[in-house]
């Protein structure tokens, strides 16, 4: 199977591995899991003026799950929050040429970014209310 160098690189050298302090008000954290295989993924975004300035992840699972989260963190940097919420798992799967048996890894990454955004927006709402 021939993969593009870029894709293989996401496997071999995943970007943005790490954590932010989840208590920071400008940080949104999404933690999701794939019950069928036991993979867990934590994805965090750091937002400034509605734009995602930085993103980090920690994924415990197979290579496809790691690559999917690595790719998403790369993509969302510099995106507006509402644009990032539009990312679809099919885009991730296509970019990484994921085989069908690994499509659920891209679903996990989509769920993770959505959960992170939801967490950030909940914090924002709480701040403006309080």
């Amino acid at each position: 199977m021939a993969y593009s160098d870029k894709v293989v690189d996401h496997y071999e050298n995943p970007r943005n591995v790490g954590s932010f302090d989840k208590k920071d008000t400008d940080v949104g954290t999404g933690i999701v899991g794939a019950p069928a295989c036991g993979d867990v993924m934590k994805l965090q975004i750091k937002v400034e003026d509605g734009v995602i300035k930085d993103a980090k992840f920690k994924t415990y699972g197979c290579g496809s799950a790691i690559a999917s989260s690595s790719l998403v963190t790369e993509w969302v940097k510099g995106m507006r929050v509402e644009d990032a919420a539009e990312i679809k798992n099919s885009q991730i799967a296509k970019e990484l040429s994921l085989p069908p048996v690994k499509i659920h890894c891209s679903v996990l990454a989509e769920d993770a970014i959505k959960a992170a955004i939801a967490d950030y927006q909940a914090k924002l709402a709480g701040k403006s209310e309080g």
Binding site: C62, A93, P99, P100, V101
Partner: protein
Amino acid sequence: MSDLRSANTLFQISEPDAGNELDRREAGRAIGIDLGTTHSLVAVAPSGAEPRALADAQGEALLPSVVSYADSTPLVGSEARAQLVESPQSVLVSVKRFMGRGSEDIDFDHPYALAPGEGQARFEVGGREVSPIEASAEILVALKRRAEAELGHEVRGAVITVPAYFDDAQRQATKDAGRIAGLEVYRLLAEPTAAAVAYGLDRGGQGLFAVYDLGGGTFDISILRLRDGVFQVLATGGDSALGGDDFDRAVASALLEDAGVSAPSPSQRQALALEARRVKEALSEAERCAVSVPALGIETELSRERFEALIAPWLKKTIRACRSTLKDAELRATELDGVVLVGGSTRVPAVRAAVEDFFGRAPLTDLDPDRVVAYGAAITADLLSGSKREGMTLLDVVPLSLGLETMGGIVEKIIPRNATIPIAARQVFTNYSEKQTGMSIHVVQGERELADANRSLARFELKGMPSLPPGMARVEVTFQLDADALLTVTATELMTGVQQRVEVKPTYGLGDEEVDRLVMESLDHAGEDFAARALAEERVELGRVVLAVRTAYDEMGSIEGLLPESERAPLVAALEGAEAAMQDASIDDAKAIKRARESLEKSSEAFARRRMERALRAGMEGQSLAEIEAALAEEDKLERRRGGHGAETIESEGPQS
């Protein structure tokens, strides 16, 4: 959703069986072959008899697994071994270690030049390329001939043993060797399982047993349960590249180091290897042994203590495998009812001591460890020939997990190791875009997480996926392991029934065409003897057919409606042609005889069918039973010749709509 499952099976690709001409089981006439790294042997147990090993004219049962290509005609056995020191590069020893292996996997020392190229590694010997499969076929042919000479009848069916830890590629290579040797391989039987069969039947055994099998080049450990006539392998483990040969090499390199020699010539190396083996064997009896390799100026002595220290790392490896295999079987050593030792290398006292120490009991050794595997093979061969033998059932396992390569080279397991065979796994594949029309699937075998670290078994393309929204196409691929642990792949389209194409390309092995060519070549080139045999066999076959057709024609050719005029002339021409071929002693080409027979069969086919129909009608009216039988036998023979093609492609036209 079960209605979707009724969709058509589109293509079926299977590993080919033995040639169709061999597809006939003669009860009680099959042989059991232990195709070993250093020695091979053949045994029989016809129609429920006790197994016995067959010896050569000198009374020797063990045939050295050595093939010499130093002369134009290959030599096998001790004659080949005699040429070892003189032409080490043209004499192949331990070819079993190369079976089903690409040159990139061969990470052990050997004196041979390997031909460049991918797939199955090949030796360059005597100015030509020889695969280990062909060399193994030479050994099998020698054993087959020995059996035929001893038994006085032709031998076609065989059970060949393989290390339990052999993967699909190694098993397929062994089966191909059998086919090239003109054998129909009824079963590839795991060596420890064969030993258990020999022991179990001997003792009417019930209980849990471990079989520790250390041969010349391979190591297996199997845990079996014997109960109610079933031999159930619970777990198996081992190393298909560890054996007594490693002990020899350890001794040889220690001697070299002592002598301060760094780069011995091939023939010095060979002389040293032979001496190392002798020393190892001598130290099984004696505490000390004199060592002499004049070619290298070595005159010294080796103690058993030093020898045991040299082989300790290998013993440790075998015990580690025993531990993890027991764990796989979910058993403790104390729960076992017995431990069986198999393989010539278990004669080494240190091996016995290590086994006894680990399992906490003295191992069983009452059957000759060199022969017990062949005995079990012979018993199984007899059973599978359809012989009247007390039924037993063998439930063996696949030694290594089967998986698919997924993104990033990660393996997803679909059949776990130690799954009882036969077993099938299904995997539904779908599309991730509307434009996607196919996908490539890579099947691997092994326990590692990365595909590259496992054995590559096959790659194939799933083509012609219907253009459907992402996730809507559903292609179910079934991976089936048969009782030989060989893989078959079937693809079924669940949604649309649109025609699929699956091509399984084995990564190793020879491919069907090459095996077919070798089967033919072995008839052509394996010496006058072989060609003469083939010719004689074809003549016998032709004789049978001519007799049957001539008798039928003379007796029934003029009966109304059995032979229309349009068929009469071609039939008579073919019959006369075949009779002429039989009379003509100058025809020395087996293929010409075969063509005459085939032509006769073809032109008498319809005649035979009508005769059978008539005989059946007659039978129903209570008439000649002999006539029915004769007609049925004739028809049956034709049927066998026509059918039996192993690789079949089932095409479907898709649903009627």
